[in-house]
């Protein structure tokens, strides 16, 4: 039997059973070729993602033997686990016993394990995959001797390099070690990937070049659960359960110096369905009272059906939150109070409704200041942002740019009909939303050229006028384009802002 994956020209053999290997099936060979040789071959599709997920799971399971476990991803399709068992062998009665224990434990899972204990990652890899026995323990002194009879493929080299070495007549590690080192380095100086560089791989296997083992960090879930004696369907008992769950969860988070950014409350119904509600915070928090308020008004959206029998609360998004000291008055700081407010507003009104102004480097008014959701922290190119602190100082002069900005912007700018004395002059009267305004005073034009690096070539310039009508109301109008700029017909007028 073989497992097939999609290759460049149709399916290729991903892996094969031991019997198939014995018959002569090779990895990477085409399935059609193998079928021609062995008509009885049974082909199943390989599921590489599931394999990778299984390996990741096993990585955590292998922590029973040592704390540092890494999923081996050096070569395609070759899955393995690397364990750094330094100092943990004696817990199992010595390293050979431990190796036996590993084989037994994997056998209990229905898996065949080939185990090798060696001083380096490279030598253990070689002995586990290409060594003669299923399990072996190789002391530091014997590494070179143990590796010598193995083929060069045992050095974690890719297929091309292996072929190249074979053509050069270097078929075993011993042969490779016999070649003068300087010659090898010169021959493979172009090799960039470690798997194409036999010198590096040999050094790694022999331990002359260090190769650290990077253990995957175990991300424990922060979750609390309540199994309920009686199924509940009303909001009120759900709120009680939520309070319990929050206490649990916040305790878990506090132990690990974490704060929740996203919470998911899920109710498991009697009929097998799941109904969940999620809330998010703008800043990591493990304050049960605050988090509970975020759920206010959201619990009604849970659909209990015939009732929930189990409820879980999980922090799906987390962030480090070191324990903070209260100030002398026993209060939390102001910034925290503000972020709590934003959280509450976002929980009820939605993320898009609560926004803050972000100043950007542009002259076009609607682009110079944009509103972004207040719950996200702004991280962008600083060069394109004007530092907000610099502005109040700059605007003390009465002729500054901010003087000309209106208090309110209409978005988008609205069409107005305008009567003017001269085509390029200020408006004399205008009509906006079916009402006439007679312009008494006006100031302008303040010209803003189009941003040619962003806009189409047909974009027209804007001439802004601040006008005041008979009653003293102020408006901010602009004329788009000039009569003879050759970018369309007669210029149109827009109202863009209102002012106090």
């Amino acid at each position: 039997m073989v497992l097939a994956r999609e290759g460049r020209h149709g399916p290729v053999v991903h892996d094969a059973s031991r019997t198939a290997y014995a018959l002569g099936v090779r990895q990477g060979a085409r399935v059609t070729d193998m079928r021609a040789l062995f008509p009885a071959l049974r082909v199943e599709p390989a599921n590489e993602q599931a394999d990778a997920a299984d390996i990741a799971e096993l990585t955590h399971w292998c922590r029973r033997w040592c704390p540092w476990v890494q999923a081996d991803t050096h070569t395609d399709g070759a899955h393995g686990l690397l364990l750094d068992v330094t100092g943990s062998g004696h817990l199992f009665g010595g390293e050979p016993v431990m190796a036996g224990d590993i084989v037994t434990a994997f056998a209990a899972l229905g898996l065949t394990a080939r185990v090798a204990l060696a001083p380096t990652i490279g030598s253990a890899w070689a002995l586990a995959r290409h060594g003669h026995t299923g399990q072996s323990v190789c002391p530091a002194a014997d590494v070179a001797a143990a590796l010598s009879p193995l083929g060069v493929a045992a050095l974690r080299l890719d297929a091309d390099t292996t072929t190249l070495l074979a053509r050069l007549g270097l078929k075993t590690v011993a042969a490779l070690m016999a070649v003068p080192r300087a010659a090898l380095i010169r021959r493979f100086r172009q090799a960039s990937a470690p798997s194409a560089n036999p010198v590096l791989r040999l050094d790694q296997a022999l331990g002359t070049v260090p190769e650290p083992l990077v253990a995957a960090e175990r991300r424990l879930r922060a979750r609390s659960m309540r199994k309920l004696a009686e199924p509940i369907a009303d909001v009120e008992p759900v709120a009680h359960v939520l309070a319990d769950l929050l206490d649990d969860l916040c305790g878990q988070l506090a132990e690990r110096d974490l704060g929740a950014r996203r919470l998911r409350l899920a109710g498991y119904r009697l009929d097998g369905g799941v109904s969940a509600v999620e809330v998010a915070t703008s800043r990591a928090s493990r304050d049960a009272g605050h988090l509970k308020r975020l759920f206010e008004g959201r619990l009604e959206t849970l659909d209990p059906g015939s009732g929930f029998e189990v409820m879980t609360l999980e922090a799906t998004g987390r962030q480090d939150l070191p324990a903070a000291q209260q100030n002398l008055a026993g209060n939390v700081d102001e910034e925290l109070a503000l972020s709590c407010l934003i959280d509450r507003l976002v929980a009820r009104l939605g993320n898009g409704a609560v926004r803050k102004a972000l100043l950007q480097g542009s002259h076009i008014p609607e682009r110079a200041e944009v509103f972004v959701p207040a719950s996200v922290s702004i991280s962008g190119p600083v060069s394109s942002m004007i530092l907000p602190d610099a502005i109040p100082a700059a605007c003390t002069s009465s002729l500054s740019r901010e003087e000309a900005m209106p208090l309110r912007l209409l978005f988008p700018a609205e069409d107005v009909e305008v009567l003017h004395a001269v085509p390029e002059g200020p408006p004399a009267r205008f009509r906006w939303r079916r009402q006439n305004h007679i312009v008494v005073r006006s100031q302008g034009p303040g010209r803003i050229a189009p941003e040619w690096w962003r806009e189409k070539s047909s974009a027209r310039l804007r001439d802004y006028y601040r006008v005041e009508d008979k009653e003293g109301r102020r408006f901010w109008l602009y004329r788009e384009g000039l009569p003879d700029d050759g970018r369309g017909g007669a210029p149109r007028w827009f109202i863009h802002g209102l002012d106090a």
Binding site: L359, P392, S398, M405, R408, V440, R441, V467, L498, A500
Partner: protein, 252 residues
């Protein structure tokens, strides 16, 4: 006015009101002494309660009037219901710097309806770290009744945070706001350099209902350097106007 343009008289901008005195910051004395010793004395402390401002649909004078009373430092929560943002536009942070504000400390909330806007204002007034809450409601929605304003007023007083409820195109129904103003634009003060340009704004403020204050009508200017409102008599004394005109023409 031609001579005026040649040598602009800057004193005109801030020196206009002879009647009336600036709004003071000390919150203890909360009274109006009108018609007493020579000038009208207006002591208007910075509000720490709910102030309701009525304005016309296209008239942003109420916004300026509110911003002039917002403390200079601290975050501002600005709530708009959907209609007011559609009809009267969005607040523009960079212009707020004109009133001593900082756009980085502005939190804008676009509420779908009046009920959400009122809820947001109330939540904001519950938060200690805001220096001011500004709410805009368009027209006369049913959700904005006496109870709603009473809640806002009490929350604002409890927290000591000023709250401005700006009502565009609304009728002055029953309300528990501690100060109720009707604000309208007036033709602006002449521009110091350009007599055809709109100058510093000038508003007419009518206080028609207040607790502890005497109702009245004033002409109001914003004094930017001191960040305060200058109140002067709505109908200026002809002698004062004459004196000013004389001074401005002789200044050239």
């Amino acid at each position: 006015m031609d001579e005026n343009r040649q040598s602009p008289d800057l004193s005109l901008v801030h020196d206009l009101p002879v009647h009336g005195l600036p709004v003071h910051d000390n919150g203890s004395a909360m009274r109006i002494e009108a018609g007493e010793a020579a000038p009208d004395m207006v002591f208007l402390p910075r509000p720490t309660t709910l102030v309701e401002l009525f304005a016309g649909a296209r008239d942003m004078s109420a916004i300026g009037f509110a911003l002039a009373q917002v403390p200079r430092h601290g975050s501002v929560l600005w709530v708009q219901d959907r209609m007011s943002s559609l009809e009267a536009g969005y607040p523009h942070g960079r212009a707020i710097t004109r009133f001593g504000g900082n756009p980085a400390q502005l939190i804008h909330v676009g509420a779908r309806n009046c009920a959400d806007a009122l809820w947001t204002m109330e939540e904001g007034l519950r938060c200690r770290s805001l220096s001011c809450v500004i709410g805009e409601i368009w027209g006369d929605p049913r959700a904005l009744d006496f109870t709603a304003t009473k809640r806002l007023a009490m929350r604002a007083e409890q927290q000591g945070t000023p709250a401005f409820l700006i009502r565009f195109g609304a009728a002055a129904n029953l309300s528990a706001a501690r100060q109720r103003w009707r604000i309208a634009s007036l033709p602006s003060v002449p521009h110091p350099y350009d007599d055809r340009a709109p100058g510093p704004p000038c508003w007419q403020a009518e206080l028609f209902r207040a607790r502890g204050l005497k109702p009245g009508t004033w002409m109001v200017h914003y004094d930017r350097t001191a960040h305060r409102l200058d109140f002067s008599a709505a109908i200026p004394d002809p002698a004062v106007v004459e004196a000013q005109r004389h001074r401005s023409s002789s200044g050239g």
